[in-house]
Symmetry: C2
Subunit: 250 residues, 2 copies
């Protein structure tokens, strides 16, 4: 279709990196591209922290559930929702506090995510590979301490960046019809689309080359969802953690 | 730097569109590019609904606070966090419910946002313009009803898409140092960076050509933040709305 769409469509997560460093001018380009993303009413409610120190990367890897790719990637970016900036701006003028609620939490989370995805596209256009690390939410308070985040800032996810040292296959996605609806949400056909996708993922895991996170994995998508979401409540600490950082979810 | 990064860096929201329709094959390419974005552990917890019907677009425009660009854009996409798909997948195997909490709410919100930003980049690479419409969260229940969303699906934001009929200036962002930190979050200098940015935005609003949402606007960023966040609690209905849709924020 065009070069940019081809780039987007060949995305796959990279979990093995060469030792090659990323020049600071490339990192700057990547962050400037991130800043160019839309932001809710220009509030720019996010920050990003680059971690390059090997010992610190080791600590983040441990906190994220022993994700070795954090150690191997030359740069580990942590994307944060950041309402501290808005609080600081307001308090230049008046001695007031931001009125928190779930909408403000959403604004920061969405802004951080829009910016991060632009960074991903920019990095991949320069030949780098990446993987998002939601695992930093396993131990969000320790991550917060290591990054010295002020109140009203929380780490949404990490991002390993570097020159790829693997060429994994592209993982197939759900059929278009399971994602893309016309005028109203179509409830018809979803079960069949999931069953069709189950066969596609079964074939993919049977034949794929390289990549993947390793560890336990069901090859049918619907069974993998059952395995993931049928156990304990996922990251049940997040609510109290967020309130401790000054966010409100009411 | 390269074509893709140039594209990202020249993004600005488009609020005036030509009547030109978007061919369905372009929309498909845009959604396939969205699907190629990362998704937390491949859960793909989002859906997108295309609204093209003029009368329906008028209703969404009203619900979003009379945003005329929704009527003028040939396609209005609504990006939704969607846990219904995972629930459906699980229930192919066992008669259980997803255990809800704020982490699951986050997963769906992040997945929808990553996909939407890829759609933005793909659309802009094809020459289209866009603007995100957070205003659909002004009346999320009415939007939900119009889209016939099932439980466990909520509309995160809308997106107007079409051929641009304006060429607004690119809005300057906060200085890099206010967003990009090394190893730890730097608390030094933020006030000065905000004051420097206040002068930049003041100059921008004094000289800009085209674009903008119109209406009241402070020209210094920090004052605009004060105006926006010093009043009523923003969208205070979101908590109860989300719980009504089956999400939990605990």
């Amino acid at each position: 279709m065009n070069q940019t769409i081809e780039l987007l469509k060949k995305h796959r997560s990279i979990r093995k990196f060469k030792e090659t460093a990323i020049p600071e001018e490339h990192l700057t380009e990547i962050i400037l591209a991130a800043q160019a993303a839309s932001t809710s009413s220009n509030i720019q409610a996010y920050s990003v922290i680059a971690v390059k120190d090997p010992e610190r990367k080791r600590r983040f890897a441990g906190l994220a559930g022993n994700q070795q790719q954090i150690v191997e990637s030359p740069v580990f970016l942590v994307w944060c929702a950041d309402l501290n900036k808005i609080r600081t701006a307001i308090r230049l003028h008046e001695d007031v506090e931001l009125k928190q609620n779930v909408e403000l939490f959403l604004l920061g989370t969405i802004d951080a995510t829009l910016a991060a995805q632009n960074a991903t596209v920019a990095a991949e256009s320069l030949g780098y590979g990446m993987v998002y690390i939601g695992g930093i939410r396993n131990n969000p308070q320790d991550v917060t301490d290591l990054l010295e985040l002020p109140q009203l800032v929380y780490p949404v996810f990490g991002m390993c960046l570097g020159v790829p040292d693997q060429e994994p296959d592209i993982r197939p996605r759900l059929p278009l019809a399971a994602v893309y609806h016309q005028e109203v949400y179509s409830k018809e056909g979803l079960e069949d689309e999931i069953k069709a996708y189950d066969e596609i993922t079964r074939h993919y895991y049977a034949t794929r080359k390289g990549g993947g996170r390793g560890g336990e994995q069901e090859t049918k998508w619907s069974k993998e969802m059952l395995r993931r979401f049928n156990g304990e409540r996922l990251r049940g600490h997040m609510h109290d953690f967020l309130l401790g950082r000054g966010f409100e979810l009411k």
